[in-house]
């Protein structure tokens, strides 16, 4: 256990710097969002490909399958739902059938209700409320490995033009992505499980990595104030890399100052 560099009365020891860093993220994000100025944001090919992939499905007369993960409410699922909302809007506008497999874990049912509302709202906003069909959002199972064959079965039967798999998909992602590839669908995935990410990248046409998925909602909204919030992620990544380099130098110079600072 490294001795903290400093302590602030009232704050828990070891959590002070974390607290200050989080507060700084909040302040910076709100500052950049209030600027409403279009910041430079690098392209995310996987997110840019969604519109083209849905368009391809429309032209081929095939459905789009889009899942938001199989966990409960986590940041992965929330990011997955943002992408689902965007896909639902595109599908509603282009009269493309959207299939959303739901379930996969015991926590997933609570998310399903939000997903159903989200897709229904997207169709209603596009003025096509009658096109929304809840039967296309089946609850496959509360078990991961029952969800997987059911999902694969849907891929084989419905032969989608596009499969978009976001949110928290774990080991089953590989089975689904590879089968999606086998049925000739454009496969867009998001890696959230470090151990299978490399294999998932091989199976997918496009993959979102790291913070690309949490940033998806802002990126796809194309709203300057939301896009500006992504800027904070880049700033913080530089801070993280800077801290790592400083820590490396300090450790090699025999000082534990950076360790003590982040343990404060």
């Amino acid at each position: 256990m490294v001795e903290p560099l400093f302590e602030i009365p009232g704050l828990f020891a070891g959590r002070t710097v974390g607290f200050l860093l989080i507060i700084l993220i909040f302040v910076l994000t709100i500052y950049y969002m209030s600027q409403k100025k279009l910041q430079y944001v690098r392209r995310v090919p996987a997110l840019d490909a969604i519109e083209d992939a849905v368009g391809r499905s429309t032209e081929m007369g095939k459905p789009v399958i889009c899942s938001y993960g199989l966990g409960g409410f986590s940041y992965w699922t929330i990011a997955g739902l943002s992408i689902l909302g965007y896909v639902a809007k595109l599908c509603a506008e282009t009269d493309t059938r959207l299939i959303v497999p739901t379930g996969g874990s015991h926590d997933s049912y609570i998310v399903r209700e939000a997903a159903v509302d989200l897709v229904r709202n997207a169709y209603t906003t596009a003025g096509k409320a009658e096109m929304f069909n809840e039967e296309d959002m089946p609850f496959l199972s509360g078990e991961q490995y029952a969800y997987t064959p059911a999902y694969i079965g849907m891929l084989v039967r419905d032969k989608p033009g596009t499969t978009i798999m976001t949110g928290s998909h774990w080991s089953e992602a590989m089975n689904i992505a590879e089968m999606s590839n086998a049925v000739g669908a454009i496969t867009i995935t998001a890696g959230c499980y470090t151990s299978s990410m490399a294999a998932l990248a091989c199976a997918s046409d496009y993959i979102m990595l790291g913070e690309e998925q949490p940033a998806a909602g802002a990126y796809l909204s194309k709203n300057p104030s939301q896009l500006a919030s992504i800027r904070v992620q880049d700033i913080y990544k530089f801070i993280a890399v800077g801290m790592m380099i400083l820590g490396l130098i300090a450790i090699n110079a025999g000082s534990e100052i950076i360790n003590r600072l982040i343990s404060s």
């Binding site: 989200l118 609850f139 913070e211 998925q213």
Partner: protein
Amino acid sequence: MSAFFKSRSTQLTILVISFLLVFIPYFINIPGLDWFSTKLMTIAAVTNAFTIGIAVYSQYKRSGRFIMERRKGWIYHIYLVLLMIFMIFNGIVFGQHTGGYDWLLKAVVTPLSSVIYGILAFYMASAGARAFRARSPQAALLLIAGLIVLLYQAPLTGSVFPGIEPAATYLTNTFGMSVARMFSISVCIGAIVLGVRMLTGKEVAFLGFGEE
């Protein structure tokens, strides 16, 4: 009343209050607030448990429609409904660790899950075979690194090619680990910024709302 709870502003207000109740006690020592935080998490767990009940009800309703209208695959829905009744009855009457519930779980669900997990190896192999082609210098580098790590994982490689182990360990423990850590850091930062957008009402998809 229902419209009040379904409104965007009510849901965002509840979200901000819940966030503060969980966030503040983690960092700041305020006696009493910790109690609220624990209670809130218990409420979330109980609500989640209730949704399983809704899931069962919805599944019955959906299967019922399939069976009544004799839609494609209706026979499987009879099977599904019967199994659900069997599992619920056995789970309630005999408990989760004895009787039919336990037997079905150990003799059917677990082996079938293992099969699905097991075939992952073949999917990985086919994806790897398709992707591992040296079309560019970068791809060639990836191919070589992949081959070294793959050979290291294979049985008896250590005795046939003793030099493979240090190379594979180096690749895994330096490049692999540093990339995984950078991935974790970037995801954490992305999640916090996502949280700020949620709290400021910019990101509302998770509440079931679309764009304004």
